[in-house]
């Protein structure tokens, strides 16, 4: 579904006209199959979020191509959903209005294939039904008249997820979606999203800096390193969605392995 071809990307250093800083990606290639659940993990500054923004069409590669469903990504793709750590809800709009935002934007442009899919549904009643369905599904239907500032972080993140799912994406990009949440709420939302992935079979990519979360969310784990990423280091992972096996030895070994890959110190040496 996704093909990253010889991607090169780096941010400009400091001031205007300054030299380009070290590339985050240099001739980086990766293929992601339809329906797969991926997690991306790496130390801060390694470019995990950058990769997600590139996939979302919100950043442009310096060179190389990103192809999703045979289409070069040069702008946000209508069927890609993005959820950021900072929920990105409009502070002056209620949860309900925020959840409807994507539909409003689609109606604003009409089915032009750029801002909204060509085969877009124009029936406002069906749209509203979808809004209610996802609000209900994420357990925030009772909060739809509230403003984001009146919600807990977990509720805000649920609203952001609902807003994205209303648009029926076939690719879901999640950037540290749960890292600002308390542990029990984080786990609950992880379970919700794992269940959703199983049901819907849509392709999902979760960026995280949390080793356990990467192990729980990714059937394949992309490990990035600080500095230049030239080749994709991918781990096949059998523990995605295995919440009940979290305390078993194989799961912990997988986590330890990841920790090592990320440049951590092995457990026996730490002791």
């Amino acid at each position: 579904m996704i093909q990253i071809d010889l991607l090169t990307f780096g941010y400009e250093a400091g001031h205007p006209g300054g030299q380009r800083s070290e590339a985050v990606y240099q001739d980086f290639s990766l293929t992601i199959g339809r329906g797969e659940a991926w997690s991306i993990i790496g130390p801060s500054g390694c470019g995990k979020s950058t990769l997600l923004l590139l996939l979302a069409g919100l950043n442009r590669p310096l060179s190389g191509r990103i192809i999703i469903d045979g289409e070069d990504i040069v702008r946000p793709r209508p069927r890609t959903g993005l959820v950021l750590q900072d929920h990105g809800l409009l502070p002056w709009a209620t949860v309900g209005e925020n959840t409807r935002l994507g539909l409003k934007i689609r109606h604003f442009y009409g089915p032009d294939g750029r801002h909204s899919p060509l085969e877009m549904e124009i029936d406002p009643i069906k749209g509203e039904a979808r809004v209610q369905y996802w609000l209900e599904w994420l357990g925030i239907a009772a909060l739809q008249e509230k403003y984001p500032s009146q919600l807990s972080r977990g509720q805000r993140q649920r609203a952001a997820i609902a807003r994205t799912l209303v648009l029926e994406p076939d690719l879901l990009l999640l950037d540290e979606p749960f890292s600002a949440l308390d542990a029990p709420i984080r786990e609950e939302l992880q379970r919700v999203m794992a269940g959703f992935h199983e049901e819907s079979g849509l392709t999902s990519i979760t960026v995280t800096h949390d080793i356990e979360e990467a192990t729980l969310t990714g059937e394949k784990i992309l490990v990035l390193t600080a500095g230049e990423n030239r080749s994709a280091h991918v781990l096949e992972n059998a523990f995605a969605g295995a919440f009940e096996r979290r305390n078993e030895a194989p799961f912990l070994e997988r986590c330890a392995e990841l920790r090592l890959l990320l440049g951590g110190v092995p457990a026996e040496e730490r002791a």
């Binding site: 990105g88 809800l89 009146q150």
Partner: protein, 249 residues
């Protein structure tokens, strides 16, 4: 406005008129006629020349508000969203913002000629900076993540303006207008004292005060006060409609 608000506004008005009448009786001089003399004269005048003066003044303020809003809002949004440009221009704004713009009156008259536009321009400049500064602050508070999220929902430039920038800046624009409308009317009063035949400033100073028609002068003062109050409450009413309750963020 709620019922109790309306009542308390009426109460304030009654108290004001009562104190005015009382002061007039105590002072007992031609320079302070009471409302019993002035109000009927005012109502009569508003159907004639005074009404004409009132409309001339109101037109100038409204034109200035319009001019300032359509120029300062986009510029404030741009500065708030472009930190580099903002850093470049900010020192200039910081210096110009606190200067009382009325002192440029002679310069503007010479440069722009003795037209209505020069008066409107002067008032617009004053309101312009008020709007610019608050809209810029609102735009700065729009986090990049919010813009990215909304873009990922499919929003291009036009939808961003419609669903993000406009609702984010509108309440701020209205607040800025409301707090600057008093200054605007004050500047109008000064600007209208010369180089025009119409406007409440001209009426108060040239047509009545200088010829010692104190009763008529007060009808002009009432007109100007009314202009300020009406604009203030109109803007406030719009602001209340636009700014949703419970939105503190």
């Amino acid at each position: 406005m709620s019922r109790s608000n309306t009542l308390s506004t009426l109460g304030g008005l009654c108290m004001f008129l009562l104190l005015w009448e009382l002061a007039a009786l105590l002072l007992n001089q031609p320079i302070l006629p009471g409302p019993i003399t002035v109000v009927p004269l005012f109502l009569k005048g508003m159907c004639g020349d005074l009404g004409h003066h009132f409309l001339a003044s109101a037109g100038r303020v409204l034109a200035a508000i319009f001019l300032a809003t359509i120029t300062a809002t986009p510029l404030g949004l741009a500065l708030g969203q472009m930190p580099r440009l903002d850093r470049l221009v900010n020192p200039l704004i910081a210096i110009v913002y606190p200067i009382p713009k009325i002192i440029f009156l002679p310069v503007i008259y010479v440069l722009m000629g003795i037209s209505d536009f020069s008066k409107i321009f002067l008032i617009a400049v004053i309101i312009f900076f008020q709007i610019l500064v608050v809209v810029r602050a609102e735009a700065r508070a729009l986090r990049p993540e919010l813009i990215l999220s909304v873009r990922s929902l499919g929003a291009g430039r036009r939808a961003l303006f419609r669903y993000v920038y406009l609702p984010a800046s509108l309440p701020a624009v209205l607040t800025a207008l409301r707090v600057s409308v008093g200054t605007a009317v004050a500047v109008l009063f000064i600007a209208e004292q010369s180089l025009t035949q119409w406007g409440l400033g001209y009426y108060i100073v040239i047509e009545t005060w200088q010829v010692l028609m104190y009763d008529e002068m007060y009808t002009g003062i009432m007109g100007m006060a009314l202009l300020g109050v009406l604009l203030y409450f109109a803007l406030y009413a719009v602001e209340l409609r636009v700014r949703p309750e419970g939105c503190q963020d």
